[in-house]
Symmetry: C2
Subunit: 319 residues, 2 copies
Amino acid sequence: MSLERFSSSLERAFEEQVFGEHPAELYEPIHYILSLGGKRIRPLLTLLSANLFTKSWETAIEPAMSVEVFHNFTLMHDDIMDQAPLRRGKPTVHHKWDTNRAILSGDVMLVEAYELLSKLEASLLKKAILRFNKVAAEVCEGQQLDMLFAEREEVSKEEYLEMIRLKTSVLVGYSMELGGIVAGASPDACELLYEVGENLGLGFQMTDDILDVYADPKLFGKQVGGDILENKKTWLLLRAMEKSGEDRVRTLLSIEDPDQKILAVRTLFDELNIKAEATSIAEAYFDKAMLGLQALVCPFEVEKEALNTLFLQIRSRQK
Amino acid sequence: MSLERFSSSLERAFEEQVFGEHPAELYEPIHYILSLGGKRIRPLLTLLSANLFTKSWETAIEPAMSVEVFHNFTLMHDDIMDQAPLRRGKPTVHHKWDTNRAILSGDVMLVEAYELLSKLEASLLKKAILRFNKVAAEVCEGQQLDMLFAEREEVSKEEYLEMIRLKTSVLVGYSMELGGIVAGASPDACELLYEVGENLGLGFQMTDDILDVYADPKLFGKQVGGDILENKKTWLLLRAMEKSGEDRVRTLLSIEDPDQKILAVRTLFDELNIKAEATSIAEAYFDKAMLGLQALVCPFEVEKEALNTLFLQIRSRQK
């Protein structure tokens, strides 16, 4: 079955979903942030993973939505913490309304994520929810590490990779695992789905970091060079420090003019071959994800096609 | 069995509970806010309610802790929204650390509340969690209404009571209901436990509002008259407006000197007999709660004694 079929079912489900009525002030921001679009990669992964094991993949729609609602809850709260004015080109919730609204709507959004997951039948719910709890806590841990690293002098590449694993990849892993859980896949299959998704998530985030420096500004949704302006200790910056010495990098980071700063750091990256190194790390994660998927034993082998298509889209994205 | 036995089991469980290890910055505020004390009324209600239906009330300890962790999560986030510097005489989390820490530790605390609840066996978990989701969303709705009412000109007494029902009482109701669910009580018994707790919670909050105006400053943990200084539209203030006309009350609320303002409003309340009216409403809620408990059919009738003792303590509290 084609990717579009799953996507359109998901969009319809989101359009029809009512999260709560009263007071409208509490629930409005939930509909707002979900309407900003986004690629819906996580819930698609849930549906596509379930579809490897069952013909009734529609039973995975509400759990899939749960993962997307959770992801958007983290965006709503992260945007407060990062003082971000824009999300996908639109005002963030705390800018459009205020911080209190973004805190409280985020809180109820986390509850709504659990509510969607709780539609699962009792025999599946316990496993799904125990894994969700663990992953949700890890995502918070990743965000805390991200904030701590911004203030710390020294961060290792390994610590950075562990941070993005927690902040981004465990949820991508869970999105796939949840599809397996809902479809009654074996514990081994569920674990492999998780690993596939975790590697996909790591490749996704490394690609994100590369695009932040090298994307075509005409295609990219946000400012190219944003991470450089923030002195964000991404794998690329940490690797450049390792290869050229910290002092040289810090000198470039102290350039005041934004365009000159971005250009100087990018020129250093080019000189040190950082993009190619980062790309090969991203590729290694994607390869691991795709090999894992290939190795997965499931009743509907042919349905792996849609997942492979999505993986390739994620792998080759330019924005 | 005596109240103290349940309390000490609960305190030991909280002392032993590890919420997460790394990064310490994320989990420290959870232990901090839980260590500030508080009466632990909600988890006690869960244990005492379970104890009406089963001799293995210890199985209710983790679910009971879940309710207390959820309650403290709401305090952590409410304190940010209310810009409160102190909680039980100690710095609030966002003052001791910062707002981002309080947002994120609160988030993971909500996840930890679900995790404690998820220890329940699969056959009980679904019911417990569906009810928890509903109550958790209602608590957020109550907080949103509370913030909206602060900015609104007109609030009716009925709206105020509905707000405190959502913000405070539904969780007290759920605390008792959860004890029934864990102990395998019938749906009817669980519903009655919820109603008893909701009425107890309404009586509790009305008493809180009365104490805020009339408590002995030597006993009361916070500033007596705090609600008056904030122009908080409590039942007492709304009733005073009804009896004396809004203009008269608004004139008193515009007094600048804090002590004079508190004295003036309290004098008006005395003149209008507001304390006695509010007390009789609180008493009616307590009576309903105690009659409901009396009517509850359960195998261990004698164990109602501890609940009655706790109800009377709550009812007659002076601080």
